[in-house]
Symmetry: C2
Subunit: 313 residues, 2 copies
C-alpha cells in the first residue's frame, strides 16, 4: 500500500469559512483572526479565509473584508506565500472579493439542482451565467469550482455521476481552473468516492481535483484515504472538525484538520504542518467557539491524552 | 476498487462485552439482555456476549453466567446458529465459561508486556501457560486469540511487528484456532494496519484474522477499509460505538456497528444485518446507558436524520 502514497499532500484549511459560517453566535472578528493566525503559524499555507455572501443569508461572514485585509496584510508584511481563497456564490460576491484584494475564489455550485436552489437560490443556468461574467470581468482571478452535493443531496438523494460530469464540463468551458468535490452532507462511501474520482479523471485527465469530505457518517478519513489511493493530493479540512451547511439539513462537520494531518503523518505523508501548533488553534476553537467538537484529536479525546500517546510512540 | 471487495463480511458484535465493561454504573442484566436480543433480531449472528473475569476487576461483568444462560436458551429455543463468545484472560475464566455452557472463548493477551500486566496482571509467559492449560482441559473449546495493543500500547508506545508475530506463533503452537488483532487504544494508521496484516499473512497464510479497531483518532473506518482491501473478512464492532479499556488510559470507543454496517452496505458488501433494526438497539443504549455516543449514525446525528437520508437516496 505504501507504494500508492505520495510524499506529500496539500491541506486547505476551511474552518474560517465552512467552520465559522455554521456557528450561530457571532464570533468576534478578533477571535477569528486569532484562530487564523495560529493556523498560519502551524504551517498551513492554503486557506478558505471567508466568504463574500449576503450578510442576511450568513451573518457570520459579515466581516469578510476585515478578515481578508488582515490576512493580506500579514502576507505582505511577512512575505508569506499563502493561498488566501474566499468563497462566493455569484458575481456580486466576486466583485466584493476582488475589491477586498482577493485573487482566488471558490465559486460554489451544487451538483444537485435542489440544493443549489436551497443554498444560493439559483438555477444551474443562473450560476453558470454568473461564472461567465466573473471570468469575463476578472480574467486574472483564479476561479476554483467548489461543487457541492457531489456525493448526495439532502433533498434529491443520490446524484448521478453524469450530472457531476455535465456541470464540471460546463464550468471548465467557462474558465474555472480546478475543482473541489464536496460531500456536503457527509454520506459518500469509499466506493463512491473512488468511482467519481475515476470517472472525472477519465474525462478530464489533467484536471486538478481536491476533496472536501464531511464526517456525518464517519467515513471522511476512509474517503480521504481512497482519494489518496486514487491520485488526489489536495484536501480541504477544518480545524476542530467544524462545519456543516446552514442550508443542508443533517450535515455534520468537516474532516478535522488535526485528524487528517495525524493520519497523513502516521502514514509518512508530509503536510508541512506542525500538528502540535495546529492543535493550539483547535483548543482555542473548543474553548471559545464550540465546546463539543467532532474532531477526534481535539474533541472527545483531550490534548493531554493525545500528547501522552505522542510522547510514548 | 470494487474488484478488491468481497461479497459479504462477518460482523462480531462486542458491545455486550467491550462496550458494557467500560460503563461504570451498573447496567441491569435485563437491560443488557434487551440490547443483546435487539441485536440478535437485527440479524447479527456473532457475539462477544460477556467476559468471565474477576468481578472485583470488572464489576459490570459479574452477571456473565446469567447473560450466557439467556443467550444459550434463546439459541436452543429458536434453533439459532449463533456464535456466542465470551472473553477470558485465564484458566479460571475459561472454567467458568465452560461451566456456563460457552464453547468459544476469546483469550486475551496483549502484544505489549506492559499492557498485559496492567490489563490482566500477568507476564506473557503466565498468559501462555494458562492458554496451554485451557486447551489441555477443554480440547473441544474453540479458542480465539484476542491480541490487545497490536498497533500501540498506552505504556510502551510503539509495538514491534516482530513481537506480534512472536506472540501469535506462541499462541498458535498452544492451540488457538484464529486471531483478532485489537487496536486497543485506537492509534493504528492505515499503513500500519496494512503492514501488520501483510506480515501475518506472509508467515501464517491460512490463518483466519479478524480486526478490532477503536476510533480514538478517527481512523477506525479507514483501517477497516484497508483490512477489507488486504483480505480481512471478519470485524469486531460495538453497537453505539461503546467501548474502551478500563486499563488503557486514553482509549476511546470501538468502531460503531451501525457505522461499519452502513459503510459496508453503501459499498455493496453484505453483512446480513438490518441496519434499521440494529439502530433500535443503539437507540436503547443511547437512552438508557450512555447518552453521548461516539457512533456517527446513532450518536451526534440523530436516527431521524439518518432515515431522512435513507429515504431520499
Amino acid at each position: 500500500m505504501t507504494s500508492s502514497l505520495p510524499e506529500k499532500v496539500s491541506i486547505t484549511e476551511i474552518c474560517p469559512r465552512d467552520g465559522f459560517q455554521n456557528i450561530k453566535e457571532w464570533i468576534p472578528t478578533e477571535l477569528k483572526i486569532q484562530v487564523i493566525d495560529l493556523l498560519i503559524d502551524s504551517g498551513l499555507r492554503n486557506f478558505e479565509i471567508t466568504s463574500f455572501v449576503s450578510p442576511k443569508a450568513i451573518p457570520q461572514m459579515a466581516d469578510a473584508s476585515s478578515i481578508a485585509a488582515h490576512v493580506l496584510q500579514r502576507m505582505k508584511k511577512e512575505k508569506l506565500a499563502l493561498d488566501a481563497v474566499a468563497l462566493t456564490p455569484n458575481l456580486r460576491g466576486a466583485i466584493a472579493a476582488w475589491e477586498a484584494g482577493i485573487r482566488h475564489i471558490s465559486y460554489v455550485i451544487s451538483a444537485s439542482a435542489a440544493h443549489n436552489k436551497a443554498n444560493i437560490n439559483r438555477t444551474h443556468q443562473e450560476s453558470l451565467n454568473d461564472l461567465s461574467a466573473i471570468v469575463a470581468t476578472y480574467p486574472d482571478m483564479h476561479v476554483t469550482l467548489s461543487m457541492s452535493t457531489v456525493f448526495g443531496c439532502p433533498f434529491d438523494g443520490g446524484v448521478p455521476v453524469s450530472q457531476v460530469l455535465w456541470l464540471l464540463e460546463q464550468a471548465l468551458e467557462r474558465g474555472v481552473r480546478d475543482v473541489t468535490l464536496c460531500d456536503t452532507i457527509g454520506v459518500a462511501s469509499p466506493i463512491q468516492t473512488a468511482e467519481i474520482i475515476d470517472a472525472i479523471c477519465e474525462q478530464f485527465p489533467t484536471l486538478d481535483i481536491a476533496l472536501h469530505m464531511h464526517d456525518t457518517h464517519g467515513m471522511a478519513l476512509a474517503n480521504i484515504l481512497v482519494g489518496l489511493q486514487h491520485g488526489i493530493r489536495r484536501f480541504e479540512t477544518a480545524a476542530g472538525g467544524l462545519g456543516g451547511c446552514p442550508f443542508a439539513p443533517g450535515a455534520a462537520g468537516n474532516a478535522a484538520t488535526e485528524d487528517v494531518i495525524n493520519m497523513m503523518h502516521r502514514m509518512g505523508v508530509k503536510t508541512g504542518v506542525d500538528l502540535e501548533l495546529e492543535l493550539k488553534a483547535s483548543a482555542i476553537i473548543r474553548q471559545h467557539i464550540q465546546q463539543n467538537l467532532m474532531s477526534h484529536l481535539a474533541g472527545s479525546r483531550s490534548y493531554a491524552e493525545h500528547t501522552f500517546w505522542q510522547r510514548n510512540s
